[in-house]
């Protein structure tokens, strides 16, 4: 590793500059880890309502058909009742991470970044349902947080990250390849550090750390593979980082495919074409949703 890369790594390992998730989120996630019969709706409502901005954003998302709603909900309590606790957890985490990007001009258009993250989360969840993956809710969270390393790059090495994105966009190559050349590390490595620092669960750490090299995952391999394939599909379908990667992908030959098929046999006969066509509707809705929810301060 070059001297510059070593210095960058040290900076990244020292993540103080980066904000953490909202204070209300950790207790909320911890509370929702309990068995269902011990959970009380009011407790969840109270937790979310503590953060007014979070509560307002949750209502925006709760009223989106992307979260299965067809009729308006106007209070956090109604949203929790109508959508269920798991969906509200997904929504609360989505809204929380939206606040993590640095303000002002950054190396990436925040709208593009959140469209990719939210889009990937939704694709992960829908993909999980379709291939009977055991935990679509977990797939959603893993998709939402998979690029958390990019947020860290924006805080800690903004100039170098901007150069990486520029190079990737100019050469139409995957972002992590440009990062490796310019930063000497990737948003996966950084994402792993951030996820560990936030004490996320080991499966979410693995998804953030290995989604560009699914084969390197030593545990939770199916989840990592699912995120890896969903992320790639989003990038190939125009929900990437604001540029096209000029490449040809056969999903059946991706390392993640065999890993995921080992746990979800129905993947062998999965209709990739139809799923891809379905994304057209997701993308339109994700654009609308992010423009509604994301308001730079």
């Amino acid at each position: 590793m070059s001297t510059q890369a070593t210095m960058l790594r040290r900076k990244l390992e020292n993540l103080e500059q980066m904000p953490t998730i909202p204070t209300v989120l950790a207790p909320l996630l911890r509370y929702l880890e309990q068995p269902l019969d011990r959970l009380e709706v009011q407790q969840v409502v109270d937790l979310i309502s503590q953060d007014k901005s979070l509560a307002a954003q949750c209502l925006y998302l709760a009223n989106s058909p992307l979260f299965g709603r067809w009729q308006t909900v106007d209070t956090v309590r109604n949203a929790v009742i109508a959508l269920g606790l798991q969906r509200m957890r997904d929504i609360a985490v989505s809204c929380s991470v939206l606040a993590l990007l640095p303000q002002g001009k950054t190396g990436i258009d925040p709208v593009v970044f959140w469209e990719h993250s939210l889009g990937c989360a939704l694709v992960c969840r829908q993909f999980a349902h379709k291939i009977a993956y055991e935990d679509p809710g977990k797939a959603y969270l893993a998709g939402l947080l998979h690029d958390i390393g990019i947020v860290a790059h924006l805080w800690i090495v903004p100039t170098e990250f901007a150069s990486s994105l520029q190079a990737a966009s100019f050469q139409h190559i995957p972002l992590h390849e440009a990062e490796l050349r310019i930063l000497g590390t990737t948003h996966c490595e950084t994402g792993k550090l951030v996820a560990e620092r936030w004490h996320l669960t080991p499966d979410l750490i693995a998804a953030a750390g290995c989604h560009h090299d699914a084969a390197s995952a030593t545990h939770d391999r199916a989840l990592v593979a699912l995120v890896s394939l969903s992320d790639l599909l989003c990038r190939m379908c125009g929900l990437g980082y604001g540029y096209n990667e000029q490449r040809q992908i056969n999903f059946l030959e991706e390392p993640g495919f065999a890993m995921l098929a080992a746990e979800c046999p129905s993947l062998e006969s999965f209709d990739w074409a139809r799923f891809t066509f379905e994304l057209e509707a997701y993308i339109e809705e994700v654009h609308r949703l992010v423009s509604l929810v994301y308001r730079p301060q």
Binding site: L66, L122, Q126, M236, Q248, I249, N250, D271, Y282, E285
Partner: protein, 302 residues
Amino acid sequence: MSSPSPSLYRAADTGGSPNPSLIQIRDLVYRVAGIFQPDNKLRLLEDRCSKRMEVLGVTALRDYYDCLTVKPIRQAEMVALLNEITIGETCFFRNQPQLDALRDVVLTRILEARSKLPVRNLRLWSAGCSTGEEPYTLSMMLLEETNARLKGWNFEILATDLNERSIAHAKHGIYGDYSTRNIPQYYRQKYFMARGEGLQVVPDVKAKVNFNRVNLLDAARIAFMKGVDLVLCCNVLIYFDVSSKRQVIQHFYNNLLPHGYLFLGHSESLYGVSDDFRLVHLPSATAYVKTEKRQVAPQVKL
């Protein structure tokens, strides 16, 4: 029936969940014809069904679904609905993401594979070319490359259709506003000339396209179209039954070179129809590439 419209999208502007019969029709069309209407196009599908329902005097989507499945008219009605779904799709530069992917990714790969062969010649086939907008678009795109990546190369575009009148129109090469609505200004100025109220394709573009009336099921005729690098067959296979579809796909397979590509229409799929081709994803587009298998001899009737 698929899950209720992946529970993701409301039927546009209706404020409610989509009509289950509409989802059934969407799924039926995909199963029978291989063309998919995503959730954000459900309103459009509903409009198109409404047009057919008016003709048939049917008022409920549920009854229209019966017209497509159990009534004796079902086959003819499916064709009529497909005509509605694909109406107005014939124009220059119809599917820009597909054309971009072809130029930016596929052409590079084809040239790499072709450069290992002795002759520097590309052959593209627009199968079901209708009135010629698609092959002429390809011709213009490749002409743009002749001073760059295609320097020292020759290319030809085979353009076939079953309809004699369409072929005559295509050879004439004069088009009205509707067909020419998507042509970028640069191409409009460089490759068209005003002719009456329309635009005519210039001779250089025409010279690269070879039009013929061909039935895609006619093995004897198709056997003459060997050595093709890429087939574009948009919104044509949707009208064939499964057995005919497989026959046509086999013809494409036999005529394509080992590195060959098959491009279908927007939201059109070969799922469940053929294992001869593998789906590949390109930037904002999909295509099919040949799988490696033994070439099957065409059944030529003597």
